[in-house]
């Protein structure tokens, strides 16, 4: 008996040694493809780097973020990312897009998951079919929708005109009134299946006998959803929403392809790329990328923290 603790700790040491060994390749790969670029980006955001001559970058401190000069008249002129209206427009676009798209996806995903959770013939085929929008590469679906939303040849305008919903063709992706709506439609169409799948997994964790008990208690179906199904699927739903929110905050490809150069839809990622590549303001773009990274990192930490708080004290 006296020997057992040392034997066990030796075993434990062996285990953690092999665990570290197995983790090493992954950590190395992450360091090369994620860690190094991230550090470089943060570094460049404090320099005056230009795409044409990256190596000549000089340290400029926080100038890209915020700088000011005092004029002789006593007026102070601020410049830099934190006072750039284009940046704050992109932030607002990103937040607006994320909140609306994730909210819609959560509602539609829940409805679809509830339908798919019911027993009916051909459920397997429907479950597979519903995933198709999600499986199509974003570039392809963005182009596809781009054509469908075309003001002259698009099927969407044709349909709506025939039905009588609109009396003249709408330039969905080009018009400043509808560009964000167009992006939202495509993103909801594309990502709702993912949401539905995650929620469906949560729904299937709920034991069926609870619903029988509810029938005996005489619970109205609407009440049954809000008092039984929703509280029980909430953990899965919250995970899905947080995943999607983090994902939506860095949206790039859909907007880049569907509505290029639209101030109404330009998000943080799109703006950062524009500065990095198109405008040759490499340092400024790096600063934007760094801020975007900080925002998402903060949200992730918040999500994890909220999740842990719930685990500890949330459930009585």
């Amino acid at each position: 008996m006296t020997a057992s603790p040392t034997v066990r700790s030796e075993l434990l040491r062996q285990r953690s040694r092999s665990a570290r060994l197995f983790l090493l390749p992954m950590i190395l790969a992450l360091a090369v493809v994620a860690g190094w670029p991230l550090l470089r980006t943060i570094y460049f955001s404090f320099t005056d780097a230009s795409l044409t001559n990256i190596d000549a970058a000089k340290w400029v401190g926080f100038k890209n973020y915020l700088s000011w000069i005092q004029l002789k008249s006593g007026r102070t002129i601020y410049s830099g990312l934190l006072v750039d209206p284009a940046w704050w427009n992109a932030v607002w676009n990103t937040v607006r897009f994320s909140v609306i798209s994730v909210a819609l996806e959560a509602v539609f995903g829940m409805i679809i998951a509830l339908v798919l959770n019911a027993e009916f013939k051909g459920r397997g085929i429907v479950r597979a079919a519903i995933l198709i929008p999600w499986a199509i590469p974003t570039i392809v679906s963005a182009r596809m929708w781009g054509w469908m939303m075309n003001d002259q040849f698009g099927i969407l305008n044709d349909l709506f005109m025939r039905v009588g919903l609109i009396d003249h063709p709408i330039a969905w992706t080009a018009s400043s009134d509808t560009a964000m709506i167009a992006v939202l439609i495509v993103d909801v169409w594309k990502t709702t299946p993912f949401m539905a799948l995650l929620i469906l997994a949560g729904l299937q964790m709920i034991p069926g006998d609870i619903y029988e008990a509810a029938r005996i208690d005489g619970v109205h179906p609407v009440k049954q959803f809000f008092r039984i199904t929703l509280p029980l699927v909430k953990p899965a739903l919250m995970v899905a929403i947080i995943f999607r929110l983090l994902d939506a905050m860095r949206i790039f490809d859909l907007i880049y392809v569907l509505t290029p150069n639209s101030a109404q839809t330009k998000t943080m990622s799109v703006l950062a790329r524009e500065n990095l590549i198109d405008f040759d303001k490499f340092a400024y773009g790096s600063a934007q990328s760094t801020l975007l990274f900080l925002v998402i990192a903060l949200m992730t930490m918040l999500a994890i923290w909220i999740g842990r708080v719930k685990l500890d004290g949330g459930e009585r």
Binding site: R215, I216, H220, E315, R316
Partner: protein
């Protein structure tokens, strides 16, 4: 006080008939146990009474009122599930009060009824806990409590003890017996595959087999006068010995049934002779497996532990001619 009457009750899932025409009347305040092997349709029959399954044909009446198309809550029933089926996100109190609150009971009335039921089941201390913080036995009490607060006309149990360990099963069985005594005006139906539960709890037992009623009667009736080989073999543990050929011929019947407890070892002049194959010692009693030349070894129950050794030659005879005679069809033979 509710009478339950089933007339030619049938249930099919697709082309598969589960309940094949059940006629049964359950008296007001009676404790009726449905018993049978798995797949006999006993749980389905209970779910038909509960309203959790649609009746394919036939009628189900509570007090002469046909309830075929009423929802479970309209039928005034309460049910205890094998898996407890508690709402995992609600406290014990809320689990019990949920149905009442929905039925627009006054807050005071709900509170009073929940506390009364909780006291009856001794779960008052756990009212603020979640189901996952309770043991299996406590959970089952909460499930029973949730059923009690509904003040049901008909109380249904679907194998409520199956998920409990042996000691707890006996204790909870006693609780249910006490509950029945307290709620003697409530008609209760209890489904089990355990014939000990059936024998100890039931006023009357309904033995089901392949979707048909095999026999209905008090526990003693079933034990003493089984109307078929199936019932004779199902009720009693260990099961009845069945002998054929020369053993049955001696009693002028096709199949002879003798319960292990109705056989005794004789020093000599036994009716049947054979070698002892195996002796199972339970302390208070023992079971002897004797090869008397029949198809299966004869099981004999004996008080106290067995002193006989395997291989020993033993003589056996039925006590007081306590035997059952069946014909080829498995029905009791006419005298």
């Amino acid at each position: 006080m509710t009478t339950i009457r089933m007339q030619d009750l049938r249930k099919s899932f697709g082309t598969f008939d589960v309940i094949k025409g059940v006629d049964l009347e359950i008296e007001p305040g009676e404790f009726m146990v449905f018993v049978g092997p798995s797949g006999c349709g006993k749980s389905t029959l209970l779910r038909l009474v509960a309203g959790l399954e649609d009746i394919t044909s036939g009628t189900l009446a509570f007090d002469e009122k046909i309830v075929n198309s009423l929802t479970p809550s309209q039928r005034g029933i309460a049910m205890v599930f094998q898996s407890y089926a508690l709402y995992p996100h609600m406290t014990v109190y809320d689990n019990m009060a949920f149905g009442l609150k929905l039925a627009k009971g006054s807050a005071d009335d709900v509170k009073r009824r929940v506390h009364k039921a909780a006291e009856m089941l001794q779960i008052t201390d756990y009212l603020d806990r979640l189901p996952k913080q309770l043991s299996g036995g406590q959970r089952q009490r909460v499930a029973i409590g949730r059923a009690i607060v509904r003040d049901p006309k008909v109380f249904l149990f679907d194998e409520p003890l199956s998920n409990l360990d042996a000691a707890l099963r006996v204790a909870t069985r006693l609780e249910i017996a006490k509950l029945h005594a307290k709620m003697h005006e409530t008609t209760m139906i209890y489904v089990t595959h355990d014939q000990v539960e059936a024998m100890t709890l039931a006023d009357r037992i309904c033995v089901l087999r392949d979707g048909n009623v095999e026999q209905v009667g008090t526990p003693l009736e079933l034990y003493e006068k089984p109307q078929s080989i199936f019932v004779a073999g199902f009720i009693g543990s260990p099961k009845m010995n069945f002998l054929t050929e020369q053993f049955a011929d001696a009693y002028k019947t096709d199949i002879l049934g003798v319960r292990p407890e109705h056989l005794e070892i004789k020093d000599k002049d036994g009716l049947w002779k054979g070698k002892l194959l195996l002796a199972e010692n339970l302390g208070s009693e023992s079971f002897l497996y004797i090869d008397i030349g029949a198809k299966e070894p004869l099981v004999v129950r004996q008080d106290g532990s067995a002193h006989q050794q395997p291989g020993e030659l033993l003589c056996v005879a039925p006590v007081n001619n306590n035997i059952h005679r069946f014909d080829q069809s498995g029905r009791p033979a006419a005298n």
